[in-house]
């Protein structure tokens, strides 16, 4: 279902580079990245590469370092050692505009409860200097099937509706790199289907999608690569087609160097 379709070069369309942003990249690389908090090691000399047009699943027990890895890649947390490069350049050299190419769907959704759905999208759209804001906001509302409720306050939405809106908020500026932290939590079937379809769309247009999740069933048919994290250490399962849960258990059972 489109999984063999890997876009090596960015296609115009879903991933459009807005006029003001000159930054783009097709690869994100972690080189010997470590992050520790006092004695607690969250990431241990991790080296990974992510390329355009793939969906990578990040699995591991709680406290394994998944959120830390996402935070480091999102430039929110500085690694204690090692480097993260986006198309060969570090976050420091790229500066603020780099964040305009990254979209994050966090555990806590990043939505203002007292604003309406439309206002939330407009606000973030402005901050990200999104072109043709009005059009894009309407398109996003349509994609999330929230057009009828666009003028309702987000605090009145159910978790599923909020999540749909949060996803569109994260994607409004057509990011190259999409980071999702437990996106399937608390979703009903309709929302799950929407999410899966949206993620496939992203992959097909060349985005780099990295998703931390516990949801094996939904991830099973979706991800291209699987990365297992334990105590900050990484084990990669390059071909993750089918039987995810079994593969995960297998990877976890092996001795980790």
């Amino acid at each position: 279902m489109g999984r063999s379709h890997r876009a090596a070069t960015p296609r115009v369309g879903l991933i459009s580079v807005s006029a003001s942003s000159l930054i783009d990249f097709t690869q994100v690389e972690l080189a010997e990245v470590s992050r520790h908090y006092g004695r607690r090691r969250a990431l241990a000399r991790t080296s990974l590469t992510f390329r355009a047009g793939e969906i990578v699943g990040l699995f591991g027990p709680n406290g394994a370092g998944k959120s830390t890895m996402l935070s480091v890649i999102a430039t929110m947390v500085r690694p204690t050692s090692g480097t993260v490069t986006y198309g060969g350049a570090t976050a420091k050299s790229l500066g603020d505009p780099l964040r305009g190419r990254i979209g994050v769907l966090g555990h806590d959704l990043f939505l203002y409860g007292d604003l309406t759905a439309r206002e939330n999208l407009e606000f973030f759209g402005r901050l990200y200097s999104v072109d043709r804001l009005g059009e894009r906001v309407e398109a996003a509302l349509a994609a999330a099937r929230l057009t009828e409720r666009a003028n309702d306050r987000v605090s009145a939405f159910s978790r599923g509706l909020r999540q749909r809106l949060a996803l569109e908020r994260a994607l409004l500026h057509s990011p190259r790199l999409v980071l999702l932290d437990e996106p399937f939590t608390g979703l009903d079937d309709e929302s799950t289907a929407l999410l899966t379809a949206r993620l496939r769309q992203l992959r097909d247009s060349g985005a780099i999608v990295l998703m931390a999740t516990h949801d094996f069933e939904n991830a099973d048919d979706l991800i291209d690569r699987m990365i297992c994290l334990r105590d900050g250490r990484v084990r990669e399962v390059p071909d993750a087609r089918g039987n995810l849960r079994v593969r995960y258990r297998q990877a976890m059972a092996e001795a980790w160097s």
């Binding site: 929110m76 947390v77 994050v104 555990h107 806590d108 203002y112 409860g113 973030f124 990200y128």
Partner: protein
């Protein structure tokens, strides 16, 4: 998008959110008025100040306070206490849905976030002061209309100084533990010069023999303090917000 535009959008968003729930406006205002009442009971009786001086005046001892001195002090204490509460609450709200994180993830310059938040906090505090000043005038028979521009100038300059430091600290404490108690612990000692200048300036206006030159001098000091500390805050905001 340049810094000021981004700051404007952020401040506007904050004010819209506040206008819808009005939680901060009501609670901060009510708290400020309660503060005034509590201190009034402590320092005033039958419209006269309680006499705190020793039986015989001793060199270097604190002199007994007049009603207008008390009024000036109470005004600024109420501003400081309610301001701290408002700062804590405003950022707690951002913390709950991690929206501050969302702001930090956006490509806007960090300075814009600081300025936007500072601006919306100032609007809130000026609103509270607009109500407090007449109340002080009412309860203590303080001459609030004597030099309105100067009084307004003092309040503006002092509030900016207090909020400049407060916004930085409240933002940076979002990720810390014990944040609700650490904010006042950190904020009050550092804003002592602001409080001193504000109180003395206001007292100079309210006093039986008003000294407007002194009040203006205090205001200049506050303006200088504001310039230095807003600059310092802008300088340190970005590094302190990144882990």
């Amino acid at each position: 998008m340049n810094v000021l535009r981004a700051a404007w959008w952020i401040a506007r968003k904050d004010l819209i959110v506040e206008a819808r729930s009005r939680e901060l406006a009501y609670t901060t205002l009510f708290f400020a008025v309660s503060c005034v009442l509590v201190f009034a009971f402590a320092y005033i009786q039958d419209g006269r100040s309680l006499d705190f001086g020793p039986a015989e005046p001793v060199a270097n001892s604190v002199m007994p306070i007049s009603v207008t001195d008390a009024a000036a002090g109470i005004l600024w204490v109420a501003v400081a206490f309610s301001g701290t509460l408002a700062l804590g609450r405003a950022f707690e709200r951002e913390r709950q849905s991690e929206t501050l994180r969302a702001l930090l993830l956006a490509p806007t310059e960090r300075a814009a976030i600081y300025i936007g938040k500072l601006a919306s906090m100032l609007v809130l505090m000026f609103g509270v002061e607009l109500v407090l000043v007449p109340i002080i005038g009412l309860f203590f028979d303080a001459p609030v209309g004597r030099a309105p521009l100067l009084l307004a100038g003092l309040l503006v300059a002092g509030t900016v100084g207090f909020a400049a430091v407060g916004t930085l600290f409240a933002a940076m404490l979002i990720r810390a533990q014990s944040r609700d108690v650490l904010l006042p612990v950190l904020l009050y000692p550092i804003t002592v010069p602001v409080i001193i200048a504000g109180v003395r300036g206001t007292a100079a206006i309210f006093g039986a023999e008003p000294n407007l030159e002194a009040a203006t001098a205090w205001m200049s000091m506050l303006v200088f303090f504001d310039a230095v500390f807003v600059t310092l805050a802008l300088w340190t905001f970005a590094p302190v917000m990144s882990e």
